[in-house]
Each structure stands twice: as structure tokens, then as C-alpha cells.
Amino acid sequence: MTMQEDHKDCFVLEGKMALPNQNFAGRLGSRFLIAIRDRKKIMGLKCNPCGKTFVPPREYCEKCWTKIADNWVELGTEGELVNFTVVRYGDRHLPKKPPYILGQIRLDGADTPLVHIVEGIDPRDVESGIRVKAVFAEKTTNTIMDIDHFEPV
């Protein structure tokens, strides 16, 4: 479109979209998060028919529709870094100052890798396949950030 318009009256008003929220982890999510916060344990949920162990928690296996909400298994707090990126931009929603490593970590005993932050290694040296372990947060927030980060074993 090639509408010619006069821009002389046009301007931009600065504003914001801001609303208060309260999010609920639910019973299942609370058990998972409290285990990390209070017991420093990472729990998975196992689907017996599929033979797969999932993390983060979910009520049922979406592949076979089996309810797995009670089938907790304890995972290791160590695992393998299977994939990663280096975050180099800075936005307000990011939990760390860039640059930092965001990785996919397959915990011992789990089939699905968990997305988390990897520290204690230079972004230039990181590679897939290294072993990492969870470092739990001193100051807890009731989210997955109660694991502060993972670091090489």
C-alpha cells in the first residue's frame, strides 16, 4: 500500500502493560518443587507402559494417556549435557547476566532432558556430552531455579 500520510501530528506515547498475577504449581508441581527445595532431590514421573521417565512433572503420558501422577522415581542430581546454547542478549526476563550457557541436561534416570543453566565452564569450552551436577540455590524461590545451576562434575 502506498497511502501518503502526513506524519506531523503523529507521535508515540510511552506506556506499559503490567498486571499482577499469582500462579499455582498445583499439587504435582508443588511436590516436585518442594523435593528440590527441602530435600535437594530431583524427582521424575515414570510411564510404565512406555518405559519412559519424564521431568518436569506432568499428570499423564501424552503418548499413551496413562495417568502417571503418582509414579514418582528419584533421579540423579547429575547428568549429561546433551545440547546447549550461549545466551548473549540481555532481556529483563532472563535470570542471569549474559553471556551464559543454557543447556539441556539429561539427568541420570530420566529420559527427557531438563532445560537449565550451566556455570563453572567458559562458554568457549563447553561441549555436548560433558557430565554436570546440580548446584542447589541458597536462597529459594519455589521454582526450578531452586536448582541454581548445573556445573561440570
Binding site: 500520510e5 502526513d6 506524519h7 501530528d9 503523529c10 507521535f11 508515540v12 506515547l13 510511552e14 506506556g15 506499559k16 502493560m17 503490567a18 498486571l19 499482577p20 498475577n21 499469582q22 500462579n23 499455582f24 504449581a25 498445583g26 499439587r27 508441581g29 508443588s30 518443587l33 518442594i34 527441602d38 530435600r39 535437594k40 524461590t141 519455589n142 521454582t143
Partner: protein, 394 residues
């Protein structure tokens, strides 16, 4: 006292000073009366001033209260515990507020932490059960270089004698008391279990002599940090359901475009510029790119007002909090639907009416704009309208 939902009205008032948040109440100056009728009820008065709280029971009349809450004891407890929604109780008149109800809805949650019923006594848990979990609750990272033996001599049902050995980052539990021990603790098994599940305060138990400590007192005090807190298995009564409170905020750049831009250019000059549909002639205030009825682009601007007539109005008694600050404007306030002189029928604009004018506001009243001292070209330039009485047309 009669319990509702396992709690008495008196419990709630007894914990009020503990739940009070003085830093949130610095600006507050209010006396709130409570009258809970029925079994277990009574009258209380809470006076909040200069960040202090005084709670007293009242015999006879409740006097000197700015806001008074009347309800039956059961509803009072239910609302306090969140078992009954406050809005529902208020709607059904089971809970009545004399004075401004916004204090109940907005002020109280701000200056008090919520009442939490104490967890049910997990009677089923014995000292033996708890000792059995010690090794798995051990935190080796906290006990680096620690070497000690702790003896427990726990008398009564569920009790026994155990030795906990911490050495080289490992922890083991053995039946019986080893010799020597770094420290030995003797008490009733019930007392130990109570301290571990949180129904008995440890400091009280020590100071009252319920716990006897022999050996290294300092070492005894340090042991707690080597272990994770004991959690009662299947303690559904006290189950914690996690929630996060956040304010999600994203900065925005709202474009005016040429049409709203022109409106703001007018506002800066204290003029109302409507745009007029070339087909039906209606004046759009504020102006829009198109006339929705005729589906034609609207180019022509006409000045309307600045005075106008109120066709409808809303007197608002229950302001909602500003989602950002939680601040609530004074009530009542009025929004008037104003048709400016020269505007077409029904093309009203909603504007705030000056608060002092509310008692005299009527449909058909004439109003004039109240402008900000400095106009910059935004909605903030127009404070609202006030009654235009010089023309005597009210």
C-alpha cells in the same frame, strides 16, 4: 471455645499482633470493630495507628470504630481461613460492613499476613520413625570435616537408644549408646517427635528442662544444620501448595497515528477535535480512522465543546485497585457521559467529574472541562469536568 474449621475466633485475634506488618501500616490510622455473633463469638476492637496495633476485647457497645464488621462466628472463621470467599459472604449479607467495605477487601490483606491454622499434630509419627530417616536427610556438604557421635536416649512409646555417627562426610545410625559420645541427649520420645515435626518449640523444651544435654553443648546446637528438615510423610493436612506472586510488566510504545495524533494536538490547545463521518455526519469523540456504521474513512475534523451536557453518569462506590500500585482512589467518584456542544446525538465521551460536584450531579447537567496546568498532549491534560453553573441550567 467453639471451633469452626478447627479454629476459634479467639485464636484469630490472639495471633493478630504476630501477623501485623507495621511497615505496611505506617500511614494507617483506623479503629476496626468486630462483632462475631453466635457460639464462640464476641466483640473485638483493633486500633491501628502510627504503625502500631492494639487488639482488645470489648464488653458492651463497640464505639469509636471507623469500620465495623458484623458476622456470625462461623462465617468469620471461614472467611479468615479462606474456606468461605469474602465476596460471597459479603454478597449474601452473612458478613456486613458498616463503613467502607474497601478496608476489609484491600487494607486488611495488606497489613496482616494471612492467618494459618497450626498444622494438625501428626500423632502417628514416632521418634523411631524419625530416627530411621536420619541417614537419608544427611547433608554431607554441610558436615565437611565434622567428626562426632550423638547419643539419643528417648524414653517411652516409640523410643529407644541410638547413636548417630558423623565422620568423613558420612552418617550412620546405630542402635544403642556408644561410648564415648560427643554429646548425649535424654528426653521423652514424645518430646523428640514433637520438636522434629514442629509442634513443640525446641528452645522451650531445652529451657524448661524437658531435654537433658550432656557433653558438648555447642556441638549439640550445630547438629540441625547437618540434616534436612524432617517432613511428615503423607501430611496432607499441612500440604504446601506452591504459588508465585509476580507483576508481569512489559514497556510499550503506543502510536497515536495521524487521527488520535490530531486529537492530542487539539487537547494540547485545550480543544476537542472530533472527526465527522462524510456519510452519516456523526462526530466521533475521540476520533477514529473509520466510521464503523458507514465503513468509510473519516478525514474532516470539527471542534466541539468545550462545554457539554451529561446524559448518563456512574457513581462509583467500590473502586478497584490500580493493578500496578494497589492504590485505591477515594470513593465515591463519578464518571459522566458527556455530549459536547456541537457533537451529534449519543456521541458521548466518558469523563471524571470533580468530586465536590457529585451531590448536585443530575442527568442533563451542563459541564465544562477542567484542564491540567500544563498540557502536553496526553490523556493526563484533561483532569475531568465540573458543573457549569454560571449558565444556571442545572
Amino acid at each position: 471455645m467453639t471451633e469452626y474449621f478447627g479454629t476459634t475466633v479467639a485464636d484469630i485475634f490472639a495471633t493478630m499482633p504476630k501477623r501485623f506488618k507495621p511497615e505496611e501500616a505506617k500511614e494507617v490510622d483506623i479503629a476496626i470493630g468486630y462483632e462475631a455473633t453466635g457460639e464462640g463469638g464476641g466483640k473485638w476492637k483493633a486500633t491501628i495507628k502510627h504503625g502500631t496495633l492494639k487488639v482488645e476485647t470489648v464488653e458492651g457497645e463497640l464505639t469509636g470504630c471507623k469500620t465495623t464488621i458484623h458476622t456470625d462466628a462461623e462465617t468469620f472463621v471461614g472467611v479468615t481461613l479462606g474456606k468461605i470467599a469474602a465476596l460471597d459472604a459479603l454478597s449474601s449479607q452473612k458478613l456486613r460492613v458498616a463503613g467502607d467495605p474497601k478496608f476489609l477487601m484491600l487494607l486488611l490483606p495488606k497489613i496482616f499476613t494471612p492467618y494459618a491454622a497450626p498444622a494438625k499434630k501428626p500423632d502417628a509419627v514416632t521418634a523411631r520413625d524419625i530416627i530411621a530417616t536420619i541417614a537419608e536427610r544427611f547433608r554431607p556438604e554441610k558436615a565437611e570435616g565434622v567428626a562426632m557421635t550423638i547419643g539419643y536416649d528417648l524414653a517411652g512409646e516409640g523410643g529407644g537408644k541410638w547413636t548417630i555417627v558423623i565422620r568423613e562426610g558420612k552418617c550412620a545410625v546405630r542402635e544403642g549408646l556408644a561410648d564415648p559420645l560427643t554429646v548425649k541427649m535424654t528426653m521423652e520420645a514424645k518430646t523428640y517427635a514433637g520438636m522434629m515435626v514442629g509442634t513443640i518449640e525446641a528452645v522451650t523444651a531445652f529451657t524448661s528442662g524437658q531435654v537433658k544435654i550432656e557433653g558438648d553443648m555447642a556441638a549439640a546446637g550445630a547438629t540441625a544444620k547437618y540434616f534436612l528438615k524432617y517432613v511428615v510423610p503423607g501430611a496432607t493436612e499441612a500440604e504446601e501448595l506452591i504459588s508465585l506472586r509476580v507483576i508481569n510488566s512489559i514497556e510499550q510504545r503506543f502510536a497515536t497515528g495521524p487521527v488520535m495524533g490530531r486529537w492530542f494536538a487539539g487537547i494540547r490547545e485545550k480543544k476537542f477535535l472530533a472527526n465527522r463521518c462524510p456519510k452519516c455526519g456523526r462526530t466521533q469523540i475521540p476520533p477514529r480512522e473509520i466510521c464503523a456504521w458507514c465503513r468509510v474513512r473519516v478525514h474532516e475534523f470539527v471542534e466541539v465543546g468545550p462545554k457539554g451536557v451529561v446524559t448518563h453518569f456512574d457513581i462509583v462506590y467500590f473502586a478497584s485497585p490500580d493493578p500496578l500500585t494497589g492504590a485505591v482512589r477515594d470513593t465515591p467518584y463519578a464518571t459522566a457521559y458527556v455530549v459536547f456542544d456541537g457533537a451529534t446525538e449519543r456521541e458521548a465521551i466518558t469523563l471524571d467529574l470533580k468530586q465536590e460536584d457529585i451531590p448536585r450531579l443530575k442527568e442533563g447537567a451542563r459541564v465544562r472541562p477542567v484542564w491540567a496546568e500544563v498540557t502536553t498532549g496526553s490523556y493526563r491534560d484533561l483532569i475531568g469536568v465540573e458543573l457549569d453553573e454560571e449558565e444556571g441550567s442545572i
